[in-house]
Symmetry: C2
Subunit: 144 residues, 2 copies
């Protein structure tokens, strides 16, 4: 299957550049709250699911402990989360949002709305994009 043009040469780069561009859009909106985009993602999981283990945060965001451990330490230092060992299994650490962390939800609730709006993408386009990204994100494991 030898078919394509410069298109497939571009697509991975487009993904890479679009991702960085999107977090660049988030930055000025998150900066006032002293949050980075990955920290915001962690808080969103906590807002949605309540107290969550480090392991489940890793599954939800596709990040490993090497990324999450220092990130959570910074979130704790800033007072947005607490970390508690599960008494039933001392290996497990459960991350709890603090009152301050929960309060942020209301200030940041319409944030994604505003960004999506900024891209000028329609709902149909969003839906298509979501579908394609999902496919691209779950590729076959067996490379030729």
């Amino acid at each position: 299957m030898k078919a394509s043009t410069a298109l497939d040469d571009m697509i991975c780069f487009q993904l890479y550049a679009a991702s960085r561009g999107m977090t660049a859009l988030y930055r000025p909106l998150l900066d006032p709250h002293h949050l980075t985009y990955p920290q915001y993602l962690v808080l969103r999981v906590l807002w949605h699911d309540g107290p969550t283990t480090v392991r489940d945060l890793g599954r939800a965001l596709a990040l490993d402990s090497g990324t999450l451990s220092p990130l959570l330490k910074r979130l704790e230092t800033q007072g947005f989360v607490h970390r508690l060992r599960d008494p039933g299994d001392e290996r497990v650490v459960v991350v709890h949002p603090t009152a301050e962390g929960t309060a942020l939800r209301e200030q940041l609730d319409d944030l994604t709305q505003r960004l999506i709006c900024a891209t000028g993408l329609t709902l149909d386009e969003l839906s298509t994009l979501h579908h394609l990204l999902h496919k691209a994100r779950n590729p076959r494991k067996d490379l030729p």
Copy 2:
């Protein structure tokens, strides 16, 4: 315009996760050549355009000198590029691919092909994805 669902909550994360997933696919293919994905992107620009200034590399890849300077230093240490000051303008550094850097092109030529194939996306889907990513990558500057 208050319309959407969890969809637009997801889309930025999908972008972020898909981008990381794609570079994770590249990694095992680039590792044998001791290249990272951003380094590979720099080489692709050099293969396509020949000797290029740091400034133009930055424009092409949307990266600043803070990222490129150390990256190029590593590429130079590995023998893939040379860096020469432009005699006509001593501010400018021109990045040249070495013979070794140019030789890599043939070994990595079908690499993107194989990855795209791995995603299972059709040409039509690729084209749509490309179009949407381009829109997402050039958003309006005036946030509401």
